[in-house]
Subunit: 203 residues, 2 copies
């Protein structure tokens, strides 16, 4: 299914269809899972998706940008799409969405974010494609909660919601050897986020 | 300064002094910072610390175990040493200890934990040397808080304290492009952990 991001890329830069872009993204993700970021080459992506390297460079510019777009394209649902009418409902849905991706996405994101720490260009591409939009979506979600009177505007825990969710996803595999699935993340938001934000479990 | 772990290794396995072990650990950390986990070799460590490879194998057994011990040895203070008499005081001290390491340790730990996701032997060595002891130290810290009547025994946020602190350290560099220093971690525990645990800011 074409996503808004794919359409934007398609219309602004070339005649690649969203479906074809998705094939490139799948090739990128396959190669990342197999060998990590450093081993991935534009040649490898081109070979796996049976196109010329120049197509990739024309469309995405650089390897960091291609990788960032592929990771964004692999998300089933974005945080920005969530709007249930209550903040606790929104956060529960975030737990479902992130937990659904956890099985295959966590090792992938670990691999890429580690590479990003040693590669400023990749870090910038990831921030632009994934992190800044997600953080803005959390801010908007919390602002709606403030508007509806569900949390105080000056609640100091607001600053840490995105970091806590991103952190819990990364920490559980290390601590417990298990992915942060939807059940874990739901327990996490209800036990740790809700009390800090002053929310109750009932929606 | 010799740490208890170094002494244990020294007495049980060989005649290497704690000071000499520390030199090996420094060599390991230098090589990890330069090239990451995969590029590190026992030969490289031996060359940099001017010893024979066999010394390393005799002392630490395997590369994963050497790396795990080097990371443990690099910690200025362990969580297990913290005992201020109050849970909020203990957690504040955790924020100081983790924040002090953040500048140089975060990229290093990212690099190694990423490698661990694709290397079960390294994951096991890290869990044994670092993660299980840290998680146990948090459990003991929280149990003391329960005994002193500072938090309820069935407080559901207890489960997530270690994951939240580990997570916040990893998430901030991605979200904000900054290390999780002591000021950030202190703000984090006071704004997010304390309310979930039912602790107040005053100790």
């Amino acid at each position: 299914m074409p996503s808004p991001q794919d359409s934007a890329i398609t219309s602004s830069r070339s005649k690649i269809t969203p479906e074809r872009a998705q094939e490139f993204y799948e090739a990128v993700l396959t190669l990342l899972r197999e060998g990590g970021y450093d081993a991935l080459t534009m040649e490898g992506v081109a070979a796996l998706s049976r196109c010329g390297k120049s197509t990739l460079y024309r469309q995405w510019g650089t390897k960091p940008q291609l990788v960032a777009c592929a990771l964004r394209g692999s998300k089933a649902a974005t945080i920005a799409d969530i709007d249930t009418g209550t903040l606790s409902g929104d956060l529960r849905q975030v737990a479902q969405a992130l937990g659904a991706d956890a099985g295959h996405d966590t090792p992938l994101m670990h691999a890429v974010s580690q590479a990003a720490l040693q590669n400023p260009e990749l870090m910038e591409a990831l921030r632009e494609a994934l992190i800044v939009p997600a953080a803005a979506a959390f801010d908007a979600m919390l602002a709606r909660g403030v508007e509806r009177g569900e949390i105080a505007a000056d609640n100091p825990a607001r600053e840490f919601v995105a970091a806590q969710l991103m952190g819990a996803m990364r920490a559980r595999p290390m601590l417990e050897g298990k992915n942060a699935d939807a059940a874990y993340l739901t327990r996490f938001i209800e036990s740790a986020l809700f009390p800090a934000l002053g929310l109750t479990k009932s929606p």
